[in-house]
Symmetry: C2
Subunit: 842 residues, 2 copies
C-alpha cells in the first residue's frame, strides 16, 4: 500500500535499537528522589520560541529583586537540555539578564549570580565542561543568590534527539534523570537555612512539551518520574489557542498538574477562550508584546512585565503551599473518612498511612517527611493487589486510550448491542485465554462476580445434563429438585460476595463474624502442595492421603519444569490421587441423597489469597479428569493466575488441561479499571437457550462490558503478548522468560528464616518460619521486615507470615534481580533481630 | 491574588452568556445523520498555515485526475468556516488549482468544477451569498466532477469566533452542524450512481484542531457529532514534532480516529519520531518542501507531490473500506461471541443487533443500512442501564480527566494508603449524599457488592447491639448464635450476586433455574404504591392491609409534592402502616425462635428493576421509624436513586429520613466506569473496631477505590451540583427543576393504553395495559412500540410491559419535551395497532 519512496526513512524506525530507545524506559531501577522542601516547577511551552526563557528570567527577577526582601532568597534555574550551544545558552541568558536587572534595580542588598554548564558536546562525546561564570552586586557578603545551570548542551540548533544522534550519540534517559535529580537535591537540600518560600526552582524544558529529549523520548515522558507541577508558556498568535490547548492536553495526558498558563499578548485576546477552556481553574497571565527588534535589550519590557511576573510568582508560591498543605493533611483525613478493606483501623495510625502522590509504571511516588519533605519512589511489589502490568510506557499509552475511549464511547449498555471495544476484547480473549475451548464471553466487574456467574453456568449445565432441569420445569418449578454443591480445594479463595464465599472452605473470612449467611456449600478437598526448600522442590501430601509406597523420585524435583511434566501422569502418584478423589466424592454423595456436586472450582496451579500455595499440577489434572468422567462442569478461577501472571498466558496451559468455564479479571485491563469475564464453552452456552427470556441467564451489572475496561484490556493484552513491546516475551512461545534469578531464589529458599519458596512467572512468595500467633492470616510477624523494605524502596504487603514480590509481565529481569537482592539483605537483618528477640525471651 | 490589570478581559469570560455559549451544546435536539455511502474525511491541522488546503487540493487532483479513471468520479470539498473572505477562499483555491491541474493534465475526459459560497458576513449579519462559479474542461458531457463549497465566510482574517463576534454575532453550533449535515447529505446521497469508491469528500477545518469555531466552541468539539475519520496535517518545522503530537492527542481525547498524518519536509526528519510515537499504526506521509515564493503557482510542486497524494488517497479509500467491512460484520460477530446478560439469545437475530459506533453526550451514533449506509443518532433514553449523566461537554471533560488519572495514578491499592482522587471522592460523598449522618466510605465495584457489604455491616451492628456477638466470641465462634434475616419489600431488587439476591423476595430472578442456592432470607412486606392515572396521583394499598376507614383525601393527591408532604405523618394512614409493619414483624419472629431481623433494606421512593414502582414515601418513613425503635440498622439502596436521579441528590432527602448505611453506584461516576460505595455512620464503623484484624471487615475487591472511578465521580458530582455547569440545578436548593412537561405527562397518564405513570426527576415510566403473558418481566408486549421509537431516534428498553424514558441530570427540559412528544405520538400508533389486533382476534 505505502510505496517506500514516500515513507522516507522507513528503514530508520524499524531499526530495533531505535525502537527500544523510544519505547522502553531503561532497565536499571533506582528510585527517583524529589525534594519538596522548596517549590520547584517545570517550564513547558506549546511550541519553540514562545519565550520560556523570558518567563524564567522574569520569575527569577521578581523572586530575587522585588522589594521588600527581608530574608535571603535563592532562585535555581535548571536547563537540563540545551541545543545551539554555546551561541544559545538559556542559562547564560537568565544569568546575564537578571544580573543586569539587579544592577538597574540599584538595590542596597548584595547579590550573587552564577552560571554553570556541566556537560557539553565536545569532540563526539558528551563531556564534562564545567564552564563557570559569576557576578556579584553590592559590597557585602551576598544576600540573595541566582544559580543557573545547564546540564547537557549540544552544538547544533536542532531538536536534542537529532543533535545527540549527530554529535555525541544518545544520552540515556536514566542519565538525564539522575543528573537532574542530583542538581535538585544538591542545590535545594543544602539550603536548610532557607525557609520554604525563600527558595524557588524552575526547570526549563527545550522546545514544545512533546519535543524529543536527547534519547528520543518525548520530554513530557522523560521528566515524568519527577512530576513537578508546571507553567505552560502558551501562544498568543493566530492559531495559538489551538496549540496551547493541545499542549495542555498532552501534559494532562501524562498526569501533570499545570498551575498557570502564560502567553504574550498577540492582539488576538487568545486568553479569553483559553480561560473558558480551563474553566477559570488555571490562571492565564498575559505578557506585554515582546519587541521583535534583536538589538532591544528587553530591560524596559521586563519593567513593563513586572506586575505579570509578580503575579505568576505569587501563583507558584501559593500553589506550592496549597500542595504541601494537602499532602500533609492527607493521612489524618484518610484515617477519618476511609473504611479500608481488610484493615483493622485500630491498628492504623496516621504515621502508618502511605501518601501516594502518583505512580509511574511500576513505581509509586510516595510523599515522606523526615528532616525535610520529599517525594520518593517505591516499587509496587504487591502489584496493587495483583492487578498491575504496565511499565511507564504502557501506562502512558493506556492513559491515551482511556481518554479516547471515554470521549468516543463513554459507557454503552451492552445487551443486544455491539461496539468496537467489547467486540475486540471478546475476540482477543477467545483467541487467547479461551483458545481451544471457549466460545462465549460473559462480562462482569470483578473476580467475585465472575465466579458467581461461573457457578450459575455450571449448575445449569449439570442440571440439564442430569435431567434435573427437565423434572424441575415439568413440575412448574414448584420445588427445588436437588441440593447443589461445589467441589473445591481447601485454602482456595474466590471472592467476597456470598455466592463466591460459599465455594470456599471455612476460614477466618467465612465465619459468622464476617458473613453470618455463610454455610459452606462445598466438598472441600485437602490438596497436595509443592514448594522449594533448601534449593529443592518438594511435594507435600495431605494427611488423609495414603502414599506410603511412593518412591522419593515422585516426591522431589530438581527444577520447576519437572513438576509440570506430563510424564508424571504415568506415576503411581496419579493413581493415588485418583482414588483419593473418587473416595471423597463417593463418601460425600453417599451421606445425603439429595446432595449433588454440580461444579468443580479451582484456582489452577497457585492458590493466591490462601497463602501463595502451589498445588501439585498432577493432582489438579487428575481432579479435572475425574470430574469430566462424572459430567461435572469444570471451572478455573484464573482471576489471579491469568494473563502471564505465572509466565504462561493461562495457568490452564501450565496444567495442560482445559476447563469448561473460566474466570478472568485483575491483570486483564493491564491494571487500570475493574473488568471481569467468565468464558464458557458452547455446550455451557447452549444450556441457556430456550424459548423464554426466563431461561436466559438473568444476571448482569450496569457497567457490563464497559468500553473503558474493554479498551484497556485490548491494549494491555496486545502489549503483553507482543515481543516488540514486551521484551520478556519469548517470541513464538507466548511464554515469559525467567524473571527471578535462579541462584538467588535458591539462596533465599535455603535461608533459616524461610520455610518455603514458590517462584513462578511474575511471582516469588516465601513463607517465613513462624509459630502460633505469628503464623496465619492475622499475623503481624512480617511487619518489621516489610517496613524496612519500604524504606528501601520496595512496597510489599504480607499475607500473614507469607510475603511475596510480584512484578508485571514486562518488568525487566534486572529490576527483579535488584528486588531479590534487597529482599535477601533485609531478610538477613530480620533474622538477626528475631534471633535476638528469642534470645532475650529465653 | 490575581490583580485584575493582569487578568485582562477578566470581566469578559465572566459574562454568563459567553460561558453558556462555550460550555453548553444547544438545547434543541435533532439527530445528526451522516451518510456513509462514500468516504468522508475531516482535514485537521496542528496549527495554521501548515497546508491543509494544499492537501485537500492534492487529494482532489489525485482522486479526479489520476489515470486510469474508467468510471465517473466526484470529489466534494467542504469548508464549513472561512475567515479573511473573499481575499482568502480555500474553496476557491481548490476549485481554481484543480481546474488548472486538470487542463495541464490534458485529459481526454471532460471535467466540471464548481465553487459555491453559501453564506457570508454582509452588513453585520450572516447572509445568503450564493456566490457560484464553475469551469468545464473537455467537450463532452462532464465525466468527473469537483464540487467545492464554503458554508460560512467572514471578512476578517482572524479566528472565526473573533470574526463572528466582531462582524455578525455568533452563529450557533447547531446551525453549523445542520448546514454541514445538509451539504453532506445532498451532495453524497444524490450520487446513487456513484459506487462507494467513486466519490470522496473532505471537510476542511480552520486553523488548528482546537481553534474556536464561530460560536467559540472548539472545532474538535463542534464537529464531534459527525465523528468523521480524519487526516492530520502536521508540522515539519522545528518544534513541529511536539505540535503534531499534541494535536493528535487532542483529537484522540475527543474520540476521533486519524487515518494519516501528512507533513511538509522541513529538513528535520520529524516524521521519524512521529512514526515511533504512532507505533507505525498511522502512516506518516512527507510532502516535498513548499516553495515560499508567493508568485510560484505550485503546479510543479503538485507534480512532485503526486506520488504522496496518490498514497494518501489510497490510504483514505482503503481505511474507508476497512471501516465499512468492520461495521457490516459486527452484528454477526457479536451474536457469535457475546453472551449478553438478561438476553435470550434465541430471540436475537443479527438484524436485532444495534451497532453503536460511539456516543456523544446523551446520543448514540448508530450504524444503519437501509437503501444506503449511514450513521444516525438515537437518544439513550434508558440512560444505559440508568448509569448516564453526561452531556457532550461533560463527556469531553471526563475523557480528559480519565486520561489524566490513568497517567498520574493508574491504579493504586487502597488499604492503608491515601491518594488524591479517593480522598476527594470520599470527602465529596460525605458532604453530599452522606451529609448529616455518614462518616465512613467503603468502596467497591457495583451495586450488588455495595449491598453485600451493607448487609455485613448491618448484621455486625445488630449482633453487637443485641449481645449476640459477645456470646459468639465467648464460645470461640463454635456455632452460629442466631439466624439473621433482612426486612425488605416485595418487588425490590438489590443486585445479582447471591448475598444481594437473598435480600429480595422470590421472583423470576431467584428461582432454581437462575440461582439454585437462593433461599430468600428475608421478611418481605407488600408495600403500598403511588402512581398517576388519568392525571391524578392515586395510592394503592396491598391486599393484607386493612384501611377500610381511610378517607379519600388520604388516598388521592393533586400533585406529586403532596405525596412527599411531611404533614401526612399525622394522617390515620401512618398509624395503619405502623401497625401493619409491627404485626408482620411479630408474626415473623414468632414463627421460629432463632430468627432475627438484622437489617432493613429498601430502595427509597422508587423500586427500579421491579418495574419502576413508586412506593408510598409515608410507608417507607414509618418503616424506618419502626426499625429504629427496634434497633434494626437501616440500609438505603440508592444505587438507582442516588445523585439526582429522582431530582434530589438522594431519595433519602425526598423521604425525609436518614439511613444508617447507604449504597451508591451507577450515576456516581457520571456514567463511564464502575464504582460503588457503601456509606456508614460512626456507630456502624465502631462495631468493627477491635484488637484483631479478624474483627475488621474482611471484604474487598482488587480495584477498590480505583483512581479512575474516583476521579470520574469527583468530576461528575461537582458538575451535576453546580448551577454553572448544570442548568437544571436550582441554585441554593440542590434540586433539579421539573424536566417533564406536566401537561404532557398528564395527557399520557390519561391515554387508554396506559395503566399508570410515574414521573419524577430524570425518570418517566409508564405501565402499558396488558394481561396474562403480555404483562410481567418476560413480556415482549412493548417490543413494536420501542422499535418505532428507535427508528424515530429514541433508544428505549422495556421492563416487560413497563417502559420508561430516562435522561441525565443536565438534559435540557426542551429535549425531554421532544422525547415526550415522540413517545405520545408512537403510543397513539401503538394503540391503534393493538386495537386492530384485538378486533381481528375477536
Amino acid at each position: 500500500m505505502l510505496p517506500l519512496s514516500i515513507l522516507r526513512h522507513h528503514h530508520h524506525y524499524r531499526r530495533h535499537d531505535y525502537l527500544r530507545k523510544l519505547f522502553f524506559s531503561t532497565a536499571s531501577w533506582e528510585p527517583v528522589y524529589v525534594p519538596l522542601s522548596h517549590p520547584s516547577y517545570m517550564i513547558w511551552a506549546s511550541n519553540t520560541s514562545l519565550g520560556k526563557t523570558l518567563v524564567s528570567t522574569g520569575l527569577a527577577s521578581s523572586f530575587l529583586l522585588s522589594p521588600p526582601n527581608r530574608t535571603p532568597h535563592k532562585f535555581l534555574y535548571l536547563k537540563p537540555v540545551q541545543t545551539g550551544f554555546p551561541s544559545d545558552s538559556d542559562s547564560h541568558y537568565v544569568f546575564a539578564k537578571v544580573s543586569s536587572l539587579a544592577s538597574r534595580h540599584n538595590l542596597s542588598l548584595s547579590f550573587l549570580a552564577s552560571n554553570h554548564v556541566l556537560k557539553a558536546s565536545v569532540s563526539n562525546a558528551i563531556t564534562d565542561l564545567n564552564f563557570y561564570e559569576e557576578k556579584r552586586t553590592g559590597q557585602n557578603a551576598p544576600f540573595s543568590e541566582l544559580v543557573c545551570q545547564t546540564l547537557f548542551a549540544w552544538r547544533e540548533a536542532v531538536s536534542p534527539h537529532l543533535a545527540a544522534e549527530r554529535e555525541t550519540g544518545t544520552v540515556e534517559d536514566s542519565v538525564v534523570v539522575k543528573t537532574l535529580e542530583n542538581c535538585l537535591r544538591s542545590k535545594l537540600e543544602s539550603e536548610a537555612q532557607f525557609e520554604r518560600m525563600n527558595a524557588l526552582c524552575v526547570v526549563e524544558t527545550a522546545g514544545g512539551v512533546a519535543s524529543p529529549g536527547p534519547s528520543g523520548t518525548l520530554q513530557c515522558d522523560l521528566y515524568r518520574p519527577f512530576r513537578l507541577p508546571g507553567v505552560l508558556v502558551g501562544d498568543g498568535k493566530l492559531g495559538g489557542i489551538s496549540g496551547t490547548i493541545s499542549a495542555y492536553d498532552s501534559l494532562r495526558l501524562r498526569g501533570y498538574d499545570i498551575v498557570a498558563v502564560v502567553l504574550e499578548d498577540g492582539g488576538l485576546v487568545n486568553e479569553v477562550p483559553l480561560r473558558s477552556y480551563l474553566r477559570n481553574r488555571v490562571p492565564v497571565i498575559v505578557l506585554p508584546p515582546i519587541p521583535q527588534d534583536m538589538s532591544n535589550d528587553l530591560l524596559e519590557w521586563f519593567g513593563d512585565s513586572n506586575e505579570a511576573f509578580n503575579c505568576l510568582k505569587e501563583i507558584l508560591l501559593s500553589a506550592y503551599l496549597e500542595r504541601m498543605r494537602r499532602l500533609d493533611e492527607m493521612p489524618k483525613k484518610a484515617t477519618n473518612v476511609f473504611w479500608w478493606p481488610f484493615t483493622q483501623h485500630k491498628l492504623v495510625t496516621e504515621e502508618n498511612v502511605t501518601v501516594i502522590d502518583s505512580r509511574c509504571g511500576e513505581n509509586f511516588a510516595v510523599y515522606k517527611v523526615q528532616s525535610n519533605e520529599f517525594m520518593t519512589q517505591q516499587f509496587d511489589a504487591c502489584a496493587s493487589w495483583w492487578t498491575q502490568g504496565p511499565d511507564a510506557t504502557l501506562q502512558t499509552e493506556l492513559a491515551r486510550d482511556m481518554g479516547y475511549s471515554a470521549a468516543r464511547f463513554g459507557h454503552i449498555m451492552f445487551p443486544e448491542n455491539v461496539y468496537e471495544p467489547a467486540l475486540r476484547c471478546a475476540e482477543l480473549l477467545l483467541e487467547g485465554v479461551g483458545k481451544g475451548w471457549a466460545s462465549r464471553v460473559y462480562f462482569s466487574d470483578n473476580g467475585s462476580t465472575a465466579v458467581e456467574i461461573a457457578l450459575k453456568l455450571a449448575f445449569r449445565k449439570f442440571c440439564s445434563d442430569n435431567g434435573f432441569l427437565f423434572n424441575f420445569l415439568k413440575n412448574n418449578g414448584a420445588e427445588k429438585p436437588i441440593e447443589l454443591r461445589v467441589l473445591a480445594l481447601k485454602g482456595s479463595y474466590h471472592g467476597d460476595t456470598l455466592g463466591a464465599m460459599e465455594a470456599q472452605a471455612p476460614s477466618p473470612f467465612t465465619g459468622f463474624l464476617q458473613q453470618p449467611w455463610y454455610s459452606g456449600r462445598g466438598l472441600f478437598l485437602d490438596p497436595p502442595t509443592v514448594f522449594m526448600c533448601n534449593s529443592l522442590w518438594n511435594l507435600s501430601l495431605p494427611a488423609g492421603m495414603h502414599a506410603e509406597n511412593i518412591i522419593e523420585k515422585e516426591m522431589m524435583f530438581s527444577c520447576r519444569k519437572e513438576i509440570f511434566d506430563k510424564s508424571r501422569d504415568q506415576f503411581d502418584l496419579a493413581g493415588i490421587y485418583a482414588s483419593y478423589i473418587s473416595s471423597q466424592l463417593l463418601e460425600f454423595s453417599g451421606s445425603e441423597g439429595s446432595l449433588h456436586v454440580g461444579a468443580l472450582l479451582i484456582e489452577p496451579v497457585i492458590q493466591g489469597s490462601g497463602g501463595m500455595l502451589m498445588i501439585d499440577p498432577l493432582f489438579q489434572r487428575v481432579l479435572v479428569n475425574e470430574c469430566r468422567n462424572k459430567k461435572i462442569p469444570v471451572i478455573f478461577d484464573e482471576v489471579f493466575t491469568g494473563f502471564w501472571r505465572l509466565g504462561a498466558e493461562t495457568a490452564a496451559e501450565l496444567l495442560g488441561c482445559m476447563p469448561d468455564i473460566a474466570c478472568f479479571a485483575k491483570l486483564m485491563t493491564g491494571g487500570v479499571v475493574p473488568l471481569a469475564v467468565t468464558l464458557a464453552s458452547d455446550v455451557i452456552f447452549d444450556s441457556f437457550i430456550g424459548d423464554s427470556k426466563l431461561e436466559a441467564l438473568l444476571h448482569g451489572h450496569s457497567y457490563t462490558a464497559h468500553a473503558m475496561g474493554c479498551t484497556a484490556a485490548v491494549k494491555a493484552i496486545n502489549w503483553f503478548k507482543d515481543p516488540q513491546t514486551n521484551h520478556n516475551m519469548i517470541p513464538e512461545q507466548r511464554l515469559l522468560r525467567e524473571l527471578w534469578d535462579e541462584e538467588l531464589v535458591q539462596e533465599i529458599s535455603s535461608h533459616p528464616s524461610v520455610q518455603r519458596v514458590v517462584a513462578i512467572g511474575t511471582l516469588i512468595a516465601l513463607e517465613l518460619r513462624a509459630e502460633g500467633l505469628n503464623s496465619g492470616y492475622a499475623s503481624l510477624y512480617a511487619r518489621s521486615l516489610l517496613q524496612k523494605l519500604r524504606e528501601d524502596g520496595v512496597y510489599m504487603r504480607p499475607l500473614g507470615n507469607v510475603i511475596y514480590l510480584m512484578c508485571g509481565p514486562c518488568t525487566a529481569p534486572e529490576i527483579c534481580r535488584q528486588l531479590l537482592v534487597k529482599l535477601q539483605a533485609h531478610l538477613e537483618e530480620f533474622s538477626i533481630v528475631k534471633e535476638h528477640q528469642v534470645s532475650i525471651k529465653n
